[in-house]
């Protein structure tokens, strides 16, 4: 079966600077595919600079890959026809992080909802359009009369973010790329929005790519997780397996740093022996080697491949070199598809 959308060994390099070409490798040979059978919620977790947002942009077709391929229903997206791109636009949507930036200050908030309906001819009459919008707003816990007809600055961050979720409800795409959808929203509203995302997945069969730095919410809502470190996959697999028993040293550091909102589950000591922020020299081998307390000589020479440690997890670390090697694009094997 061909995946809906797949990144295959994709690398993205940003180059800047007029005289000296300063290049930064945002993504380094990463693969991930979103299946069509079972709608899944997959978390792309990592700190700032890990390349998770770049990955989202690649999936959305906003950025061409430097190398590797982006396959839409098996065909190279960037070679697709204009018509195919229209269908792609309809089937792959996004929810962005900043509820203030998503609205054009010149228009009322309705503009964000009416635009896709008109462009994609989702409703046959103005009456039908109004009904669709009101139903979507109610589904995300907003009262239409309190929300429509207002300008963006007249609504709270939480209300605005729920409107963008309603927008996704309207379009009923096959895949939503949610880039940090709740990081700028208060705790009380965070749950409501995550609830709506789960509803999109379970009731409407929409797959979701949940890009975040907050592993606690990822643990709560996602089934699969892929942890990125400086553009490479550190660990991937079932979220409960990875969070409850992280194997890759970086994932252990990340999970150990989660501030669980539970006084009984205090921060342990294990994080203490990681070296703090060091000047990141470029090493040939594993990118985490300079900070890794258990780095071996081989770690500094060549980048570790993915080792499949059990049927629902793979980690790119020489500590597990006695496990079978998993090729980059076969990562789907450890993720429930």
């Amino acid at each position: 079966m061909t995946a809906l959308l797949e990144l295959r060994e994709v690398t993205k390099i940003y180059s800047g600077g007029v005289f000296r070409r300063r290049t930064t490798v945002a993504l380094d040979r990463v693969s991930l595919s979103i299946g069509t059978e079972k709608p899944t919620i997959t978390a792309i977790a990592g700190e700032s600079g890990s390349g998770k947002t770049t990955m989202g942009m690649l999936f959305l077709g906003f950025l061409p890959p430097t190398s590797g391929e982006i396959l839409y229903k098996g065909k190279d997206l960037w070679a697709a026809s204009k018509e195919e791109w229209r269908v792609f636009r309809r089937e792959v949507q996004a929810i962005f992080q900043d509820p203030f930036e998503v609205y054009n200050p010149f228009y009322k908030v309705d503009h964000v909802l009416t635009m896709p309906i008109v462009r994609f001819h989702l409703a046959n009459s103005r009456q039908g359009q109004q009904e669709m919008i009101e139903k979507a707003l109610i589904d995300v816990g907003l009262r239409p009369e309190e929300t429509l007809g207002r300008y963006p600055h007249q609504l709270s961050g939480g209300q605005r973010q729920r409107i963008t979720v309603a927008r996704a409800l309207l379009l009923q795409p096959k895949l939503i790329i949610a880039d940090e959808p709740v990081s700028m929203v208060d705790a009380s509203l965070r749950a409501t929005i995550l609830q709506s995302l789960r509803k999109l997945n379970q009731e409407l069969g929409i797959s979701i790519l949940y890009i975040t730095h907050d592993l606690a919410t990822a643990y709560h809502i996602c089934e699969n997780i892929m942890v990125l470190y400086q553009g490479s996959v550190a660990e991937a697999g079932d979220v409960e397996t990875v969070i409850k028993n992280p194997q890759h040293p970086y994932t252990r550091l990340l999970v150990g740093s989660i501030a669980w909102p539970d006084p009984r589950h205090k921060w342990g000591q294990e994080v203490a022996e990681y070296r703090g922020e060091t000047l990141t020299q470029k090493t040939a081998g594993c990118k985490f080697a300079p900070r890794c307390p258990r780095a071996k000589p081989i770690c500094r020479e060549s980048p570790p491949p993915l080792y499949q440690t059990n049927h629902t997890r793979a980690a790119a670390c020489y500590l597990y070199e006695d496990n079978p090697i998993l090729a980059g694009h076969e990562i789907g094997r450890v993720l429930s598809q």
Binding site: L60, R90, A94, V102, N104, F106, Y107, V112, P116, R119
Partner: protein
């Protein structure tokens, strides 16, 4: 009306609009009282101080100064506005295409603007005007001025479009099936209006300043009674020594009013574009 309520809050914009409306009325209604024909030499007895018959008095060449100033205001402002609009149109087009499509075009435009903005516009105009001096009339003068009025708007539009282009609402528009042209005109353009307004006022001010400068150096439309030429004749005929005070102060007063009106208008538009600056009015 919401607009007037906003004006009460944005005093600078109100002052700007008030002054310019007054000038507009002065230039249009004035023509009824003092027909343009009297703005040319030998139309009326010379050197008359302001009186009931000649409210603004007359100059040494026999022009009715009321007609001259009315006609002058109209001509000078028209030169500025014409040059400013052409400059803005070219600037907006260049700024938009350079910023939105980027690449080589963007670098060329950016370098051209940087270079031409370093070169003081008036000097290049001096060279041009000096060479085609005989044939200058107000319209051709404004075309010449337009040659150097497009750099300011290009830079403003380009920087605004560059920052807007990265905004998430452009991404959402793309995701909603909007093509490039729709995004430019439906999403980006409306947000640019306050900046376009302020930049238009900037180019008009620059063009009027350049036209007065050229006329001061004797390179303007010599035969037309523009405000700059009136100032030129004031010096040429030594109005100071002969104590013709009204001939000196009237054009100066109107010119000061024009520039203050434009300044308050642009300050008001800036405030409209980013209200945060207003906090400490």
């Amino acid at each position: 009306m919401r607009f007037f309520r906003y004006l009460r809050r944005n005093k600078r914009l109100a002052a700007g609009i008030a002054i310019l409306t007054f000038l507009f009325l002065f230039a249009t209604l004035g023509r009824l009282i003092a027909p343009p024909a009297r703005a040319y030499p030998l139309a009326v007895p010379a050197n008359k101080p302001p009186s009931l018959e000649y409210p603004f008095g007359t100059d040494s060449q026999g022009r009715d100064l009321l007609a001259t100033i009315v006609m002058g205001t109209y001509l000078t402002v028209r030169i500025g506005v014409l040059a400013g609009i052409i400059g803005l149109a070219v600037g907006t087009f260049l700024g938009f295409t350079a910023a939105y499509y980027g690449g080589a075009l963007d670098t060329i435009v950016r370098w051209a603007v940087d270079v031409l903005l370093t070169v003081p516009g008036l000097l290049v105009l001096v060279v041009i005007a000096a060479l085609i001096q005989r044939t200058l009339n107000p319209t051709s003068l404004s075309l010449v001025l337009a040659l150097l009025a497009w750099m300011g708007p290009t830079r403003t539009v380009r920087s605004q479009v560059l920052s807007l282009r990265e905004r998430a609402f452009v991404r959402i528009a793309q995701l909603s099936g909007e093509g490039n042209l729709e995004i430019i005109f439906r999403e980006l353009f409306p947000n640019l209006l306050p900046y376009l307004g302020a930049s238009l006022v900037g180019s008009v001010t620059g063009a009027i300043f350049a036209s007065l400068g050229l006329e001061q150096l004797g390179l303007g439309a010599m035969r037309e009674p523009t405000l700059g030429m009136t100032i030129y004749w004031v010096q040429y005929y030594g109005a100071f020594i002969r104590g013709l005070w009204w001939w000196i102060l009237e054009p100066v007063a109107v010119i000061v009013l024009i520039f203050m009106g434009l300044f308050f208008l642009s300050a008001g538009l800036d405030e409209f574009a980013n209200p945060r600056v207003r906090r400490v009015a």
